[in-house]
């Protein structure tokens, strides 16, 4: 129902006015009415703002700073300003397809003077939509798989450590180690199951081994962090996974947790802490390795003579302010030339995988002219990069597919872990 349109008609009617038998019809009559914007119902805005966490939706004053920085708007028609305006004109965000397009990349929040916070608004509204039974089919499958198997890829929980069999260095599993370790490495779902994610996990294992890190992984005791599911509206699933993971983290003794993915980093460092009081030292692998650069550098013996550009993961960069560690690692690789894209660091583009986007590919495609990952790959190619380096397990497969679909097969997509490993071992990818 379009609540606003009736009002528009009513206002147009005012243009026709006959006063004391004199026809004074004309657009000027509208000046005697309130401006159109006042005529719209605030109900649908209030409906969003009434949800805990989504209050800031109603603070928008339509300045539009958020629109040009929104990665979805760049390939479609989006942004907080537009969502607010649509709500004024009768679009109910709870049932609109718009609800599922935001990747929670946080670029709008960065520039918004009113701190309209989509990173909180989206999960709040989506949670209600999920409870009311509005879930895009693809996303529903990812939710169900995560609930059943502990990972959104729908792979067996029992096989979570199967990738370690491919490793040429030992990958210790906590349950077998039966002793405290220095570092607990939370591997994550995509590095455990996705073929290209496994490549990064194997590289990480070799690097940790070469550095002599005393570490262990949880193996079959590890489950997905659940944060992207939470951002996509499945708070209950997130809580269930968080309770499981925290009980596993607490089962063993360790000093520092290292995570492969920025989403997991956000989950443990922020959400598990705020909601469950889990407060332990955590680092993303780029931070962990950058701190050990003095030990790492001598291992990087071989040149990797490639022109590399780096895609800042939203949940490492904007969400946690870490821009330097990944760059320090790339610059430590001999022969490697690091070039920056226009949209980098604070204004970095988004791969489209965050906030549930990872599991909404076809859905989002119906609302955008190209995938966000394709937009990004075109940018990397335009800068003449030979390699698009990433530091988030969501991104490798997204960008590789995008490189192919945009005809940029020459552009290789590699995790920083893989590039370090190449330099360590002297093999080319």
């Amino acid at each position: 129902m379009d609540a606003g349109l009736d009002k528009v008609d009513a206002i147009w009617e005012k243009e026709v006015a006959i006063v004391d038998g004199i026809d004074i019809s004309g657009p000027w009559n509208r000046m005697f009415e309130q401006r159109v914007v006042w005529e719209y119902t605030p109900e649908l805005i209030d409906k969003v703002a009434a949800l805990p966490g989504a209050e800031s939706f109603s603070w928008c004053y339509q300045c539009a700073k958020c629109v040009p920085v929104c990665p979805v708007d760049m390939v479609g028609d989006y942004g907080p300003r537009k969502l607010y305006r649509k709500a004024q004109t009768g679009v109910d965000l709870f049932t609109s397809d718009d609800l599922w397009l935001c990747t929670t990349c946080m670029n709008c929040v960065r520039v918004c003077k009113k701190v309209v916070d989509m990173v909180k608004i989206m999960p709040a509204v989506r949670e209600q939509a999920v409870l009311d039974g509005f879930v895009p089919e693809e996303l529903q499958k990812a939710f169900e798989d995560t609930a059943k198997y502990g990972n959104p890829l729908g792979q067996s929980q029992r096989k979570r450590a199967a990738w370690t069999k491919k490793s040429d260095v030992p990958v210790p599993i906590m349950k077998d180690l039966k002793r405290p370790v220095d570092v607990l490495w939370y591997v994550g779902s995509y590095p455990s199951y996705h073929p290209r994610g496994i490549d990064a996990a194997l590289a990480a294992a070799r690097i940790f081994h070469a550095l002599g890190v005393d570490y262990g992984i949880l193996g079959r005791e590890e489950k997905d962090d659940g944060d992207s599911q939470r951002l996509a509206g499945e708070t209950g699933l997130f809580e269930m996974l968080a309770e499981h993971n925290i009980s596993m983290f607490e089962k063993y003794e360790w000093n520092l947790m290292v995570v492969t993915g920025p989403h997991e980093y956000n989950a443990f460092k922020k959400e598990y802490k705020q909601r469950f009081g889990f407060d332990r030292p955590i680092q993303h692998y780029t931070q962990f390795l950058a701190d050990r650069l003095d030990d790492l550098k001598p291992l990087l013996k071989h040149e990797v003579p490639l022109k590399v550009t780096f895609h800042d993961p939203c949940y490492l960069g904007r969400h946690h302010g870490e821009y330097d560690a990944p760059r320090a690692l790339l610059q430590a690789i001999p022969g490697l030339e690091l070039i920056e894209m226009g949209r980098c660091r604070e204004n970095g583009y988004c791969c489209g995988g965050g906030g549930g986007g990872m599991w909404l590919d076809s859905f989002t495609q119906n609302h955008t002219v190209m995938r966000l990952s394709e937009r990004r790959v075109l940018e990397a190619a335009a800068y003449g990069a030979e390699v698009l380096a990433v530091a988030c397990p969501f991104e490798v497969s997204r960008f590789e597919d995008a490189a192919k679909s945009t005809g940029n097969d020459q552009l290789r997509v590699l995790d920083i872990l893989e590039l370090l490993d190449m330099s360590m071992r002297g093999v080319s990818a």
């Binding site: 089919e137 939710f143 059943k148 096989k159 499945e234 708070t235 209950g236 809580e239 269930m240």
Partner: protein, 255 residues
């Protein structure tokens, strides 16, 4: 309308299936169990009928590995009203005859107007639960159904035949229906609702008649299929692969 859904907990095929040592069945300690996919549709269809025609939905299954509660809580979160599990000294595998016997004993007591069940299940793939339930309960059966609507005293069901022919049956109640697919894809049960159910819902326990023993046929051997041939992957860049293809064709006398 009193609707009962008979469900089955079956081995998950997301796992690579391991066989037991004597090769007579799966190694049930090494597989996870999930709800039979067709039963998910039966539950959805039951809830749809309830929403359209009113009534009550009870979901019942045999608790094969003592992990059925989660499945039942999910069904309740999706809109079922009651849940029951058949318990006893039970260990997998339970063949479909025993399954049907126990389910029929339990369902008979519930006085159903309509019994829905998945048309088949991955564990035995014989599609017999529905027909056997109907036989035990002395009710009519229609299987491979893709939609059920209820009116006074009967249900109309749709069935799709090969070659694109559709049939519509009117089935007098009580009846057993084997569901191939619900009218709509199974709805999503938010985990928070499932967890609420886990806290508040009561699951009725029904004792299995453990004396019942089916001796009709016995599974003698289960094995993984032996692959007849294998594909040869040609590796290398385009030039190299092209050369290999030419060599191969020459080798077979085709060039």
């Amino acid at each position: 309308m009193n609707i009962v859904v008979a469900i089955k907990h079956v081995p998950s095929t997301a796992d690579e299936l391991e066989l037991n040592d004597d090769g007579t069945n799966l190694d049930f300690d090494e597989v996870d169990f999930v709800l039979n996919e067709f039963d998910e549709h039966a539950i959805e269809q039951a809830v749809l009928v309830k929403e359209a025609a009113g009534g009550e939905v009870t979901v019942v299954g045999v608790d094969v590995i003592e992990e059925l509660d989660g499945v039942l809580h999910t069904a309740l979160a999706k809109g079922a009203d009651k849940a029951a599990k058949i318990v006893g000294d039970i260990e997998p595998p339970i063949n479909s005859h025993t399954h049907a016997r126990w389910l029929a004993d339990a369902i008979g007591e519930m006085g159903p107007d309509l019994v829905l069940t998945g048309v088949q299940a991955v564990d035995d793939l014989d599609g017999q639960i529905g027909p056997m339930l109907a036989a035990h309960l002395d009710m009519p059966y229609v299987g491979v159904v893709t939609g059920v609507s209820a009116s006074n005293g009967s249900v109309t069901v749709h069935k799709e035949y090969p070659g694109g022919v559709m049939a519509e049956f009117e089935v007098s109640l009580p009846a057993v229906i084997g569901v191939q697919a619900a009218e709509k894809p199974p709805r999503y049960a938010p985990i928070s609702k499932i967890r609420q159910m886990a806290k508040s819902a009561e699951i009725e326990e029904i004792d299995a008649d453990e004396d019942f023993e089916y001796e009709g046929c016995e599974l003698r051997q289960m094995a993984k299929p032996v692959s007849a041939g294998h594909a040869e992957m040609l590796e290398g860049d385009a030039e190299e692969v092209a050369e290999k293809i030419i060599a191969l064709l020459e080798d077979r006398g085709l060039l």
